[in-house]
C-alpha cells in the first residue's frame, strides 16, 4: 500500500473533521458522534462480513466487550481512560479470536456462523445482565470527569474529531485490505474457500486474522460509546441493536467496499433523523423509513449505495475500458 492509496480517504476525513466546527447544533453533533460510532462498528463488520463473506449476527459481542472493558476498568480499577481504551480493543479482539477459533475449527459458515455469533452475543448479554461486575440490570455509570486525560471531552466538537480519527483508522485498514496480500487471501476465501486452500492460502489463519481485526474495530466503537454516553447496561452493550445497525449500515452502504459502512451509517441514521423531523411527531415513523431503505437497497442495489456510485462511474468509463481490453481478454 502506497501513500497514493490513501488519497481518496483524506478529503472525506477532512470534510468530516471540519463539519463539527461549522456551528452545528448540539443534537446534530450528537447525531454525528453516533453516526461515527455506528460507522466504526459497521467497518468492523465489513472486514469480516464484506471482505471475508462471513456474515455475523453477533458483533454486539465485540462492541459490548470493548464498552464494558472500558467502563469497568475505569470505574472499578481506576485505570486511565486511554489505557482502558487500548485494553477494551485488545479484549474485544480476543473475544473475536476466541469465537473464531471455536467456529472456524468446526468449519461453520453461512447461516450456521451467523447463528453461533448471535448465540455468543446473547450469552454475553445474559451474563452481563446478571453478574455483579457489570452492574447487572442497573448497568454502569461512568462518573463525569471532563478532561482530555479522561477521554471525556466537554466540547463535543472534539469528540466528533476523535471519532472521525477512529473512523479514519477503519478506512485505512479497509484500504489496506484492498491492497494487501492478506486482503486478497480473504477475498479469495470469500469467493471460494476450497479453491483458496488449494492455492495454498492458510484459510484458518486468514479467517482468524479477519475476525480479530473485525472485532478490534467494533470494540473500539464500543469504547467510544462508553466515553460519549458514560452509561452502559447489558441491553445497550450486548443487545442485538448494534449487531443489526452494524450489519445494516454495511449492507446498505456496500459490502466489501471502503466507504460503504460510513455511507451506510450516515444515510441510515441521517434519514431516520430527517423523517423524525418531518413525520409530525408520529412515534416510530423513522424506524419505518429505516426498514424501507433497507428493502429498497437490497432489492435494487445489492452492492449498496457505494455500489451505485461505483457502477455509474464504471458506466461512464466503459467505452474506454472496453476498447482497451478488446485484445486483452474479458473485461471484469
Amino acid at each position: 500500500m502506497s501513500a497514493r492509496d490513501l488519497f481518496p480517504i483524506l478529503p472525506v476525513l477532512l470534510v468530516l473533521a471540519v463539519l463539527p466546527f461549522l456551528g452545528l447544533s448540539g443534537s446534530l453533533l450528537n447525531l454525528l458522534i453516533f453516526m461515527m460510532i455506528v460507522a466504526l462498528a459497521a467497518q468492523g463488520w465489513n472486514v469480516l462480513g464484506g471482505y471475508g463473506g462471513l456474515a455475523s449476527f453477533g458483533h454486539a459481542a465485540f462492541f459490548g466487550t470493548g464498552a464494558y472493558a472500558a467502563a469497568i476498568l475505569q470505574t472499578r480499577y481506576g485505570v486511565n481512560a486511554w489505557a482502558a481504551l487500548v485494553a477494551g480493543v485488545v479484549l474485544g479482539s480476543l473475544v473475536g479470536a476466541f469465537i473464531g477459533l471455536l467456529t472456524f475449527r468446526s468449519g461453520l459458515k453461512g447461516s450456521y456462523f451467523a447463528l453461533i455469533t448471535l448465540a455468543f452475543a446473547e450469552v454475553l448479554r445474559i451474563i452481563a445482565n446478571s453478574s455483579e461486575i457489570t452492574g447487572g440490570g442497573a448497568g454502569i455509570v461512568v462518573p463525569i470527569d471532563y478532561g482530555f486525560e479522561n477521554l471525556q471531552l466537554r466540547d463535543r466538537r472534539f469528540f466528533v474529531l476523535l471519532a472521525v480519527i477512529c473512523v479514519g483508522v477503519g478506512l485505512v485498514i479497509t484500504r489496506w485490505l484492498d491492497r494487501s496480500k492478506f486482503g486478497a487471501y480473504l477475498i479469495a476465501i470469500r469467493e471460494n474457500e476450497d479453491a483458496a486452500r488449494a492455492l495454498g492460502v492458510n484459510v484458518m489463519n486468514v479467517k482468524l486474522g479477519a475476525i480479530t481485526l473485525s472485532a478490534a474495530l467494533t470494540a473500539l466503537a464500543g469504547v467510544l460509546y462508553t466515553q460519549n454516553f458514560l452509561f452502559l447496561d447489558a441491553n445497550v452493550a450486548y443487545g442485538p441493536w448494534i449487531s443489526i445497525e452494524a450489519l445494516f449500515a454495511a449492507i446498505v452502504g456496500g459490502l466489501g467496499t471502503m466507504f460503504g459502512p460510513l455511507i451506510g451509517a450516515v444515510v441510515l441514521l441521517g434519514a431516520g433523523e430527517i423523517t423524525k423531523e418531518f413525520s409530525g411527531g408520529i412515534p416510530g415513523f423513522d424506524l419505518l423509513v429505516f426498514g424501507v431503505i433497507l428493502i429498497i437497497t437490497v432489492a435494487f442495489a445489492p452492492n449498496g449505495l457505494a455500489g451505485i456510485s461505483l457502477k455509474s462511474f464504471r458506466r461512464k468509463t466503459r467505452g474506454h475500458t472496453a476498447r482497451s481490453s478488446r485484445d486483452g481478454g474479458a473485461d471484469a
Binding site: 450528537n30 446478571s130 447487572g136 463535543r156 412515534p283
Partner: protein
Amino acid sequence: MTSVKNTLSRRTVLKGAAALGVGALAAPTVLRAQPAAVKIGLLQPMSGFLAGDGQLASIGAKVAVEEVNAAGGIKSLGGAPIELIIGDSQSNAEAGAQATETLNDEGVSIITGGFASGISTTATQAAARYDLPFIVDTAVSDAITGRGLSNTFRFGPSFSIATTIALANLQRLNDAAEDKAKTVALVHEDGLFGSGLAGLMQEKLPDMGFEIVEVISHPTPARDMSNVVLRLRSLNPDLIIPSHYYNEFVLFARTLQQQRVKPKGIYAIFGGAASSYRFVNEYPEAAEGVMDCNHWGMPDHPATAKLMQAVKDEGTFYAYNTPTNYALIHVVAQALEKAGSSDRAALTETLKTQDFDPTVMPYGIVKFDETGQNQNALPLNTQVQNGDIKVIYPEDYAQAEPVFPVN
C-alpha cells in the same frame, strides 16, 4: 335581488366593522396578556417497548398544561402560557440523549420525565451540558441523583427510599394480622433490579422474623413460569415476594392462579402489574389480593378522577405515570412562578432553594435536597380488592383496610 344583496353585505360590513373595533380595543390587552410561551420539554418513551408508559405520562402532562394555561398561565411572567414539547426517547438510552439534545435546540427552559433509569441517566447528563434543569419522574436508580449533576432533580422516591418503606409496611401488615406469615419465598428476575431487591430482602427479612424458604431467580424475558410455580406449590410458603417487570409478573400471577397456589399474600415491590389497571382489568382473578409498593397518586385528590377519565378517553388503562407527570408539570409551573423567569439558571436555583405546594402525588410539600432528590417522596402500598386498586398504606391516604391473609 340586488338590493337584498346590498343590504346583506352592508350588514356584514357593519358586523365586521364592529368586530374589528372590538378586536382593536381588545388587541393590546391580548398582547399584554400573552407573552411568549415558556417551553417545557417532556422526555418520554413514545415508541418502543415502553411506549405505553410514555403515552400515560404524556396524558397526565397535557392535562396539567391545560390547567395551568386555563388558570391564566405563569402570572409572574405576565401570564405567559406554558407549552409542552414532547421528546421521544424511543425506549433506549442513546435515543434519550439525542431527544434531550433536540429539546435543547428547541429552546426548552426545563425538561421533565425520563421514566426508566438508563434513559434518565444519559438524558440528565446530556442536559447538564447546557445547564438545563431536568426533573426525573419515576426512574428509581440511586445513581441518578448520586453523581453530582447540579441540573438533576428527582420527583419520585429512589430505590433505597422505596425499599425501606416497603419493608416497614410489610412488617406492620404482618404484625396486624391474626394469622401471621412466617415463611417467605422470593421470586425475582435476575437483573440488578430483581437481584438487588432479593439480596436486600435476604438480609433484612430474617431480622423481621420471616424464614426464607426459597429464592428463585429467572431471566427477563421469561416465557414460562410453570417450574417456578410448581416449586412454590411444593414449598407452600405463607408469603411470596416477587420482583419482576410487568410481563413476567402477569405470567407469574396467572400461573399461580392456574396451579391453584394460594399463599397468604403476594407482596410486590415496584411490581408494575399490581398497580396497573391493565392487569386488573385483563386478569381480575389473578390480580385479586396482590399487594404492591410503588409510585401512586393520592386516591381522594380531585385530580385523580379527572386523570383517570382522561386516560379512559384515550382508550388505555390508568397507571402511576399519569399522576406523576401531571404533578411534575404543576411543580414546574410553581417553579416558573417563583423564579419569575424562564431562565434555566434561575429555575435551577429556584428548584434547589424553594419549597413547592403539594400535588396529586402523596409527597406533601415538595422539597429537593442537595443531591436533587425530593426528600418527601413516598411510595404507596396498594392492594387489588374486588377488581379495583386500593391504597392500603400509609393511613393518611388509605382507601381500604389491607386484606391479609388473602387466602
